[in-house]
Symmetry: C2
Subunit: 351 residues, 2 copies
Amino acid sequence: MVWENELNERKRTILKSIIDNYIESAQPVGSRTIARKHELGLGSATIRNEMADLEELGYITQPHTSAGRIPSDKGYRFYVDNLMQVQSLAQDEMIRIRKAMDERIEEINRLFRKASIIISNITGYTSVVVSPQLSRTRIKSIQLLKIDEKSILVVVVAGGGIVKNKLISHNQVVEDAHLAKLNQAANLFLADKSIGQLTMPVAVDLQREINMPAEVILAILESVDECIKKIETTDIYLEGITNILNYPEFSDLIKAREILDLLNEEEIITGLVRSVTKDKQFDFKIGSENQIDEMKDLSIITTVYGREGKDVGTIGVIGPTRMAYSKVVSSIKYIRELLNKEIIRLFGDDP
Amino acid sequence: MVWENELNERKRTILKSIIDNYIESAQPVGSRTIARKHELGLGSATIRNEMADLEELGYITQPHTSAGRIPSDKGYRFYVDNLMQVQSLAQDEMIRIRKAMDERIEEINRLFRKASIIISNITGYTSVVVSPQLSRTRIKSIQLLKIDEKSILVVVVAGGGIVKNKLISHNQVVEDAHLAKLNQAANLFLADKSIGQLTMPVAVDLQREINMPAEVILAILESVDECIKKIETTDIYLEGITNILNYPEFSDLIKAREILDLLNEEEIITGLVRSVTKDKQFDFKIGSENQIDEMKDLSIITTVYGREGKDVGTIGVIGPTRMAYSKVVSSIKYIRELLNKEIIRLFGDDP
DNA sequence: TATTAGCACTCAATGAGGTAGAGTGCTAAC
DNA sequence: GTTAGCACTCTACCTCATTGAGTGCTAATA
């Protein structure tokens, strides 16, 4: 791994300068550029020597002999770990974000989508928001409704305005009293947290009490389970996918298409994003650190949001490895703050 | 418009040959190619003369003096109206589609998504499915559920497994009896088809009967209305958006991005697709026939599906003007057939 | 010993010139 | 009416030379 003290102060300054420059210009950075720009009082030759060292250590590379240097993944890694300065957002950007978030949203899913859109707008990259994984302790109520003679609607309600339902059709007439009984049973199982273990025997037991075919009972209970699973499933909100086409590193059509297709695979993205981020920390996955080959020129920055320790979701940005890391971090930080406020407003003091 | 008899038999044959060729090769088609390929017994010079005529009439154009000809929008229009031969799908493709559609789906929305995916897979273009606009006569039941002391869930169920709901929070304790009354009232309004006209006065009227604040009553009735509106709203399922990157005419990054962004604007696509298609007919919008400027190199083929005369949705394909029109038509035809069967299975004999 | 000026060298990018080939339009002959 | 033939046009492609940014190395300097 990166040996923290491998680089003296001067090398760090030069590396930072190279990376900052490259992030902005997308062009390999030469020694003269650094000498001129940065007031180090050093000549370009000295910087050339340092750059040769940095290259040997693997922090930067040369596209070809007579070009400047570009950061390697290792270089970016050192940058985000040690060099990057994160300033807070400019006042006008904060205002812009606040304005966009202003509208009161009562459905939590729409809130996530909105947050995602704002992030991609502000950063210019692709944004990703993964909803928190809600535990079933969050479920408030289960209801079975008779829609007509031959169909029953299962409704499961959780905190935060989340409602899932499933309609079941059968060819048995179900009596109201029986349905009420089943309703009770389902809620009981829920309290028990054991609804996941519903099996045929349980249904047979119930059947003794209420005069309904075991299949119908089973179908109903399975639907309840399905709704609960839906609540427990995380949703993913990706926005600004086509933004990556704005960056010169993806001007190759074939590569661009590959990446767009990848970003459209929600499961893959979910896998990539589900990081083991510690509370409030930012997690960086730079280029090839994302195992997947197609991601070798992309970085992902993620962090968690939500009420501490309880149900946390992930929020992040996907962009080229040459990403404005500090800008992205400060943007996410600010949006997370607003998002958390909204979540608390919506979920209130639920367990 | 196109003067139907402007073209004699030979010109038609040549035009068809040019277009078929161009659709396949994406290369301008020269006179020799036509002379060689097509057994017309004509020399290339004769065909050159005919092509000059066709160009003057506006059916084909030349990218530059020494290139072959490519069809103009007018040429494509004549092609789809008069020349195109639609054969039925190859046996193995039918099997492929049937296999993909095989899984029994109970939720109509998932059915539409699946159909959309299959179309884009089979054709290689972007597919679009717009769900039918359901009229409120289709609504089966409205239910108001008390979730806890301070929240009420509105559930509206329509045919085809469609369920919409909305959760309302308030700071009034609502009694069960009152809720039941409200429930009745909502269903009454529904039968009346006048729920759209709910206004404050109505709520005040209701308030006389049941002891609840007018705001709460109004909020509930408004939510009912909102759910009904959601049911009446069409959904759109776009798949295979990135497919257009496969075609050489969009190898220009800037143009590609423009088109991808356009395709991501669901409202615009809905507008484009909502055609005045007559029953069962296919509707072609070729290139600049789609008013929108960014669409000038794209064509849209749409048709309707669903139970005749009742609630029809739109199904279609968006691709380059150089599209395999006949292949697309036969694919859509076949998928529509399967889709209709499923719809009848799901909706049964509802009104 | 650290720094730097100077210089030879490398390589991508750019542009000019030249060629090949696909295709056309026109003319004259069939 | 059809077509062979030919001059012409234009793009695509190749090659070659030039430019300029940037490097590494060496020798001189502080």
